[in-house]
Symmetry: C2
Subunit: 238 residues, 2 copies
């Protein structure tokens, strides 16, 4: 069934007010690149395109509660830390009917990302390649194919990447993408993946330590064939 055929059987005037959904941008740094969890649509409209996990907001459900529920039901993620991103409400963003969606951004460590992939087999990890020039990006499958995105989800993902870059050096978003204990090099790699540019190592160390956000744990990374680095943990500012 094509999009056109589907729409012929759909009554867009069935309701007189917009529906409200939440859509989730669930991100981790995977192999040095920001990556999002996407679902392949198997029914029209936009069949075979890739979409963000989402769902309708219940009449007695807070927006954030709906987002947490979608994270659990569609991505197998329990107790996700979600932040409201932006609300998308263009009239024709969904061909079926008027839907306003509140996008949420969830950040997780690579291990949680892999766990979600294992728990919900329909999920695909899409690497988001940031254009060197600046604004745009491309979503690619693990095999390197460009992924066509459904509806306005490319715009939502782009907004998420911009938000991430903007908050990087004054908020704790960097730590949300790392395990509880991490080395300074891992932290720097996360920053570099988000910014898309290499950073100066000593200056980065100094800035991070001076901010007072991280505390050494006294333990060191294991399994390296060279000098192991100190493990730090995130410590909200006093």
């Amino acid at each position: 069934m094509s999009d056109d055929e589907f729409l012929r059987h759909y009554d867009p005037q069935a309701f007189d007010r917009p529906s409200i959904t939440v859509d989730l941008v669930l991100l981790a740094i995977r192999g040095g690149r920001p990556s999002a969890l996407l679902l392949r649509r198997d029914a029209p409209p936009q069949a075979e395109r890739w979409a963000l996990p989402g769902g309708f907001v219940g009449i007695d459900e807070d927006l954030e509660a709906a987002a947490v529920r979608v994270a659990r039901d569609k991505a197998g993620i329990e107790g996700a830390q979600l932040e409201q991103l932006y609300t998308f409400g263009a009239v024709n963003r969904d061909p079926r009917m008027r839907i306003v969606t509140v996008a949420y951004l969830g950040l997780m460590a690579e291990s949680a990302f892999e766990a979600a992939l294992g728990a919900a087999l329909q999920l695909l990890p899409a690497a988001l390649e940031i254009d060197p020039g600046g604004e745009g990006f491309a979503a690619r499958s693990p095999e390197g194919e460009a992924l066509p995105l459904a509806f306005d989800h490319a715009e939502i993902l782009g907004t998420a990447l911009m938000r991430l870059r903007g908050k990087l050096d004054w908020s704790n978003v960097g730590f949300s993408l790392l395990p509880e204990r991490f080395t300074l090099r891992q932290l720097q790699e996360v920053h570099e993946a988000i910014l898309g540019t290499p950073l100066n190592k000593p200056a980065f160390r100094r800035r991070m330590l001076d901010k007072g956000w991280i505390a050494p744990t006294g333990t060191r990374e294991a399994g390296a064939s060279f000098r192991p680095a100190e493990l730090y943990r995130f410590q909200p500012n006093t």
Copy 2:
């Protein structure tokens, strides 16, 4: 009619999906303080409390179009420059029914603010006194009385002030609050009003000029009984 009495005649289950509204935070710097345009509610619920201008989003209306329409119809502001602020959707934020509201932020020069006050007589200019400590604020009438705010509109206004502070030194929000041509001292006063702290004058001048955002016009301010200052205009970065 009290709120309780009103609610007894209201059926909160009349509809099965949330309604969507836009609420507008219309700000200017007035007499050295951030000030917002508010409307006094004359009917329950929350009668006699002060509310942000707002309205329902039409089924065939983009979110931003609805915000522009509300700015025109309820505040007499034509062609407002509005930026989406945040979406508030707590289940009980409105006692009548489930309403999700998308808040928009509009900045204007003091002259446009005064013009709006003259055009829509129901509007009240509320000065927003930022608590010295940090987060909170108080809304005061021109006579200095504390204004009780309706629904969650205090939270919305607080979010607007935080957004304004956050964007101040890397975006053009400062210029949106000034007339087309302005002196460096006016620009500094706007920044000080938003931050709530005095700023170093030579350092402020240097930073603003170095950013390349402003260009001298060659004309000078008039009517001063002392040396007139150069008038600058905003020039988006090349």
